[in-house]
Amino acid sequence: MAERVTCGIEIHQQLNTNKLFCSCPCDLIEEEGATILRKLRPSQSELGEIDRAVLAQAARKMSFRYQSPRSRCCLVEADEEPPHDANVNAMQATLIVSEMMGCRAVDEVHFMRKIVIDGSNTGGFQRTALVAIDGDIEINGKKIAIQTVCLEEDAARKVETKGSEITYRLDRLGIPLIEVATGPDMHDPEEVREVAVRIGSILRATKMVKRGLGTIREDLNVSIPGGARVEIKGAQDLKLLPTYVEREIERQSGLLKIRDELVARGVTKVEPDIIDCSDVLKGCRSKVISSALSKGGKVFGVALAGFEGLMKSPDSKLRLGSEMAQYAKTKGVAGIFHTDELPGYGITQEEVDALRDKLGLAPGKAFAICADERTKASSALKMAADRAYSALNGVPEETRDPLPDGGSAYSRPLPGAGRMYPETDVRPITIGVERLEAIRSSLPELPDAKAARFVKAYGIHEQQARQIVKEGYEDLFEDLAERYGMAAIAARTFLNTLPELEKEGVDTSKIGDDEIVEAFASLSKGEFAKEALPAVLKELAKGSNVKKAVSSLGIGSMDQGDAANIIDAIIEERADFVREKGEGAVGPLMGVAMQELRGKVDGKKAADLLRERVQAFLRG
């Protein structure tokens, strides 16, 4: 039986060594530096064949501005100096990761130039090398193939797009990336996340990776039976990976249904006829339409008979229209309108009928329109119409951008393989047997061994240890357990407290590792009681710091005398109840006591104190 979905992932992890081909540091900076203006030109291939993705990019004719903060980039990033020899530490980290996953390193590493002309690499190419192949990792007893491990440079980061000019900052360009690519061995959305987490912890074991948002990015390859391989490129949130997969399964299934319906309706591919419909919509009250026309633009229309109800079906499950719109947007327009959503958006039924007339369509038949500056609008609408007709072939292979809600949007055609050639400015690197043996004999701890060690060293449960490693908290946990001896609290914090806070709607990703360490440091000094830790973390997530949180929550620890007074007051208020229940009153009163003490006293201490004061009260 065919699997429901087939997935592979590629993980890109930034390293915190120096940059791969120069001696700049690997940190981002909020500084612009001097600006360099550049244009890139597609290289001519000997045989006149240019990679289709390259051509698509070139067609957008972009100019590029590069911001060059002086402490984070040098002439190498500016494409004004040849690359230096490849960073030795970065290569070492790559070999360690390869060995940990059972891959075999090649005998000699050759860096290649991979053509990229969207401006994110100043030279028009990315330097990348294949370092190791054919390993595997085991997840839940199943072997997931690790096809390749590569070492490459990260691209410049996009700062803004203004019209036909894109601005990049060169601080990120050149940061080493280890790329781990799995085989298409995952058939379940949750499995994808687990594999990503495992690879992440193997990478972290090298102790040479950067931490924080954006330092690790995943590219997902997803296909369903009968569908096509679609790449969702640049996902950053591990938690969303299963959602990306689920939504892509839905999207591809929907497209297959659309194809079947189109075939059943007898729709065939025709050359789209893009017609100027500006006169029909002269008085239209849609802001988009009237604004485009008033600026001297046009409204174009294209007949799409046979597509009724497929661009947006009443149950919203079939959404060819949003695919069409995404293709149209690559030409710089804001969007399109189609009949499954009309009348609406200020366009009346009369106008819809008039448009049908203009396009020579029978009543009820589908069409789409686009309003913008003339060349943009017509080329955008052609993209949309072509995309509509390619639905007859089912699912197109493409690269998509991940969206924050777990969906994705069309980005560009899937790149072909044939656009790499040797980087002759960088020497090949021999990987000797001795070097590999040295690495093998001192590998960092593998996840299973680490979990077992946690149980032994810190007395936590095996379940907890496995979960801590699985969720990627192993380093932080070990740090806290070693420094403050608070293994149990740390375990509970990662495995229970943080997820509970997330359920309450708190964004725990905003709490930095060093802030957690600070909180535990404060806790270990007795500056607040452990019961107040969740409240402190909540404040940290809001952007506060430990000191401020402790004081604003009013939970600074209390001295014995004050605590005793508060408890005595509680007992006094319930004097009858206490006399009646005797020591049995301690249990019921704990809740009130803890509330009054507001986390300033440790639970056990509070219980002891309450019992003691109750006993004292009963004695008279």
Binding site: V106, E108, M420
Partner: protein, 432 residues
């Protein structure tokens, strides 16, 4: 390093040639890929193959390795790229000397093939065909550090030939290392030049999308057609940005950075024009060129001329011997054109023996002046000839040329100090 014998035998036995798809079994590992040319820095026992993904890897062969050919390479025909000429446009002759101004990349093998013929060039730079017709030829193809005066003479003769055959201008792609020397040599040799001769180079190889070669070539063509300014020039990027190029006088230009696009600067003068890639050409100087007679190639050059940079602790006796073996010496002195006292004495002896000694400054910017300090006055008394604000490299080339025009030392000194091709000026403006 080339292949070891053992690898060569393995490949021969398997009948493996570059471009063939191979399977290599080495112990427990097997690899499949297309055989690539041997890499200069590869280990002798390593062969390089291109995997299906496009990546190249090095595979070390050992005694037990098995190499077999799975598929022979396919010969792919290079497409013809015939270009038409336009009668309404002028013609620019492009004389290739080695700098690769345009190229094609064969992603299958990684080879970068230079665009040598006019058809290939226009195919790679289609923008040219709306500016001019192109008549391309390859004179030779060598790294510019290997060029010698014979090369300069060959280029000068080729320029005359093309101009005589009706070309309206000449563009010479050239390696950047010694482009300044060649441009100076051509400036002197092409006497009576009335058309533009522009040397262009690229600091970034033309196989890469960021290469400066294309914008430089197009800008050079525009300069030639739109200004028709007579003279020998060097055109390169003005800044790190792809916005403007500047045209430098051939006798005033020097490569001032090892790798930057804007490496070439005019020293002690201003460039003659600025080309805005997306806009107009701005003229930057108001020199009216001398009316031209007719072009004569004065190509006799004296080879035995050397350029020496003075430095403290220079071995005076050793260098005196070297200088005596030459007919002319250009010194790049310190500061205003100074050398140490013992060296002054040595220079005096060299002059007495009949060798011309010319003084320039290793500061490059500014003019020499031997009147100010005692050292300078001693140098004048020794017979050393100061040449104002001329670049040391230009002085070297000029002296070679001057000594080819005359053997009279007095006349040589006079010609060296006379401004013939814009190489010396009397004024240095303040803008720095």
């Amino acid at each position: 390093m080339s292949y070891s014998e053992f690898v060569m035998t393995s490949l021969e036995t398997a009948g493996a040639e570059e471009g063939d798809t191979l399977e290599i079994v080495s112990g427990k590992r097997s690899y499949k890929g297309v055989l690539m040319p041997h890499h200069e820095f590869s280990h002798p026992d390593v062969i390089v193959i291109k995997m299906k993904s496009g990546y190249n890897i090095g595979v070390k062969l050992s005694a037990g390795s098995k190499v077999s050919v799975i598929e022979k390479r396919e010969a792919k025909m290079k497409p013809a790229r015939p270009q038409r000429s336009d009668d309404n446009l002028k013609t620019i002759a492009v004389i290739g000397t080695g700098g690769t101004i345009a190229s094609y990349v064969d992603y299958r093998t990684g080879a970068v093939h230079p665009a040598l013929s006019a058809d290939d060039m226009v195919g790679a730079v289609p923008e040219i065909s709306s500016i001019c017709n192109v008549k391309a030829r390859v004179l030779f193809s060598i790294f510019s550090e290997n060029m010698d005066p014979e090369c300069w003479v060959a280029i000068a003769k080729a320029v005359k030939e093309e101009l005589s055959n009706g070309a309206d201008a000449v563009i010479i792609p050239h390696g950047t290392d010694t482009m300044g020397y060649t441009s100076a040599a051509l400036s002197f040799m092409l006497d009576g030049l009335d058309k533009p001769v522009v040397l262009v180079g690229a600091q970034r190889s033309s196989d890469r999308p960021s290469s400066d070669s294309y914008t430089n070539l197009i800008a050079a063509a525009r300069f030639c057609i739109e200004t028709s300014m007579p003279g020998v020039f060097v055109l390169m990027h003005e800044t790190l940005s792809d916005t403007t190029a500047v045209v430098h006088k051939g006798t005033r230009v020097r490569k001032m950075h090892t790798s930057r696009r804007d490496a070439f600067k005019s020293i002690n003068s201003s460039p003659v024009a600025r080309i805005n890639f997306e806009g107009k050409i701005e003229m930057l100087c108001d020199e009216t060129p001398k009316p031209a007679a007719s072009l004569v190639v004065k190509d006799v050059l004296e080879r035995k001329v050397a350029l020496l940079q003075f430095h403290p602790s220079m071995d005076v006796e050793l260098f005196k011997e070297i200088m005596l073996k030459h007919r002319g010496i250009v010194i790049a002195g310190s500061g205003l054109g100074h050398v140490s006292t013992p060296m002054v004495k040595a220079l005096g002896e060299v002059v007495k023996a009949g060798t011309a000694v010319i003084m320039t400054s290793q500061c490059l910017s500014g003019s020499v002046n031997l009147n100010v300090y005692a050292t300078g006055r001693d140098l004048i008394n020794a017979g050393v000839v100061p040449v104002g604000d001329m670049l040391p490299e230009t002085a070297l080339v000029k002296l070679m040329w001057v000594l080819g025009q005359t053997s009279d030392m007095k006349e040589a000194a006079r010609m060296m100090t006379e401004n013939l091709r814009g190489e010396i000026s009397q004024r240095r403006e303040i803008d720095g």
